[in-house]
């Protein structure tokens, strides 16, 4: 089975974000693999451990944004490919999906393409479904469990999550799947894995390598700002006993019309 996992480099989730002269800054916070993507890598490695095959990490990013690929390789991915082109800076989701779809076709013969459910930076969650739509493959989003995957018969059954219920879905391969945190804890990279990943070489494709013109984007972000923080005056509730504090808190909530 051939599984492509799409991964992205993002600033650490503990980073304090700011805007300097219109540019987004995360100070000196480390860059990491998008935490959601780790679940997708974990799922891919488990499927391949079960059934044989290979896991390929695919990343769309600026030159040098290799942290996500390195992490996926260190976890155990067999190989990687990166797409990087100055013409892609500011690309919207549809444009990025077109590039990913072309890269997936260039890699070729994938049974599954896995994504994390969304990225922690732009939080759109659109790439899995848009890439699937472009490839004309089924979209299986927010999957927490692979009930069965059979590359021989080309069938897949997964458990998807919706607000009201879980949904057990039968579909066909190749398919695009986004994996949620409910799938289970991702492994830590091993020492050997990290060594291997630090030496790994992988192709960096330009748009021309994929046979693409720069895709046009509909969505622009003319302005990014830091949210205005409302001034918060914290009032510490006093009282000699827990009962007094509880009573006093309820009185405050009532007098401020919170209740």
């Amino acid at each position: 089975m051939k599984i492509i996992v799409c991964v992205k480099q993002v600033p650490d989730t503990a980073a304090t974000m700011s805007v300097d002269n219109g540019a987004i800054s995360w100070g000196d916070a480390p860059l990491i693999i998008n935490p959601w993507d780790e679940y997708a890598v974990e799922a891919a490695l488990n499927l391949v451990a079960d059934q044989g095959g290979e896991v390929i990490a695919l990343c769309l990013g600026k030159e040098g944004e290799t942290e996500a690929i390195k992490h996926a390789l260190a976890m155990g991915a067999d190989s990687a490919a990166m797409v990087s082109d100055p013409a892609l800076i500011g690309a919207d989701n549809v444009a990025a999906s077109k590039v990913l779809a072309a890269a997936i076709q260039k890699i070729g013969e994938a049974d599954l393409v896995l994504f994390g459910q969304q990225s922690v930076d732009t939080d759109t969650g659109l790439l899995p479904v848009q890439t699937a739509r472009l490839l004309k493959w089924p979209s299986l989003t927010l999957v927490s469990k692979f009930e069965s995957v059979n590359s021989g018969s080309g069938k897949i059954q997964v458990l998807r999550s919706m607000e009201e219920a879980g949904q057990v879905v039968d579909s066909t391969l190749p398919a695009v799947v986004s994996v949620t945190k409910d799938y289970g804890e991702p492994r830590y990279p091993s020492f050997m894995g990290i060594r291997k990943a630090s030496k790994a070489e992988f192709p960096i494709w330009s748009l021309a390598d994929l046979g693409l013109e720069a895709p046009s984007s509909s969505i622009a972000w003319p302005e990014v700002t830091e949210p205005i923080q409302k001034e918060i005056v914290t009032e510490i509730i006093e009282g000699d006993t827990p009962e007094e504090k509880a009573k006093s808190l309820v009185d405050k909530l009532i007098s401020e019309k919170v209740l």
Partner: protein, 347 residues
């Protein structure tokens, strides 16, 4: 410049997600300013009643596809119907709620209609007919203003960011039946079964949230059953702590939230996680119990209207974001707090 606005009514087997009506409310607001018309898009099986409700919430027209083929959520045929409806109705703007289904269909329809999606919008400007949307990025640590240069423009609305209108039972309108050209043999996805979710109030829709952090497992007076090992004893203690959180939530009709630390420690299911890798919420009242206030958690809840923090550590960062702070052990505060609220609400 008048607008035609199409609003997608998201539902599960005929039961609407309330945020769908927030979308219709926004559509009506825009039309009030700019002129034009609103239509609701209702796709499903046996969903006539939803069409009636859409009129009550402000739709002038309902585009309806009612067929057993559309009973379950299958993205491909539903996205085909959304794209078909958009080609026939020619809207300037399509509004979806940011639900799991809304996000999926908005994304797929954007590919079909060669346009883009502005996701999880919390504010919209339409001055002189030019639409721009504001959305949180980096879990609300920053805000981005977005524009879309192609039509239809597609947005998904964050739940509770826009006001739900009052339904008007006297309103009605015209229903247009869409042609359904779905070939079941061509649909590669089938739903084998559904698994019920544990009940309780959903985090995204909740106006009050009570959440627990690592502190739920730190009740010094509890003695776990002797046959549990250390790890199992910790989980057992956390379950007792979350029972207190749940008790308070029940009295308030609130949803139960949790910090990442509590979820990672397996104290509670991931569904409850609030924060950067969980759900981003903005209820009217957020009561954080034994939550220290890591930046990832704050990112997910700091836009709540009123935050109450209960923590025994007076230096916990959560207090800097709380309107009211109670320094004390949640295990001793929650029982009398729950009782006092129960008494007050019983009136």
């Amino acid at each position: 410049m008048t607008k035609k606005i199409l609003t997608y009514i998201d539902h599960f087997h005929g039961k609407a997600q309330p945020s769908s009506w927030e979308g219709l409310g926004l559509a009506v607001e825009i039309i009030k300013d700019l002129g034009g018309e609103t239509a609701a898009l209702v796709l499903g099986d046996g969903v006539n009643e939803l069409a009636d409700t859409a009129f009550q919430y402000g739709a002038d027209q309902v585009l309806l596809a009612d067929s057993p083929l559309l009973k379950d959520f299958r993205p491909e045929p539903l996205a085909d119907m959304v794209a078909q409806a958009a080609r026939e109705y020619q809207p300037d703007l399509i509004i979806f709620p940011t639900t799991s289904r809304g996000r999926t269909l908005a994304g797929m329809a954007a590919v079909d209609l060669e346009t883009g999606v502005m996701v999880d919008v919390i504010a919209l400007d339409w001055e002189e007919g030019n639409i721009s949307a504001t959305r949180p990025i980096y879990a609300g640590k920053l805000l981005a203003k977005l524009t879309c240069s192609t039509t239809p423009q597609i947005i998904t609305l964050r739940t509770r960011a826009f006001t739900k209108p009052e339904p008007d039972p006297s309103r009605s309108g015209s229903v247009t039946d869409l042609d359904i050209n779905i070939d079941e043999a061509g649909v590669v996805t089938a739903i084998a079964s559904h698994q019920e979710k544990g009940g309780g109030v959903s985090l995204s829709d909740a106006s009050v949230i009570v959440s627990g952090g690592r502190g739920v497992a730190l009740n010094p007076t509890l003695e776990p059953p002797g046959d549990l090992d250390e790890a199992a004893a910790e989980i057992w203690k956390a379950e007792q702590g979350f029972a207190l959180v749940q008790g308070l939530a029940d009295v308030l009709g609130a949803a139960v939230g949790a910090s990442r630390a509590a979820v990672d420690a397996k104290y509670i299911e991931y569904d409850h996680q609030v924060g950067q890798t969980g759900k981003v919420v903005s209820p009217d009242l957020y009561i954080a119990c034994g939550v220290s206030g890591a930046i990832q958690h704050l990112a997910g809840m700091r836009s709540s209207k009123v935050i109450v923090a209960i923590n025994k550590d007076p230096d916990a960062p959560i207090f800097n974001f709380a309107r009211f702070g109670v320094v004390g052990d949640m295990h001793t505060i929650l029982p009398p707090l729950t009782e006092a609220l129960k008494e007050y609400l019983a009136g």
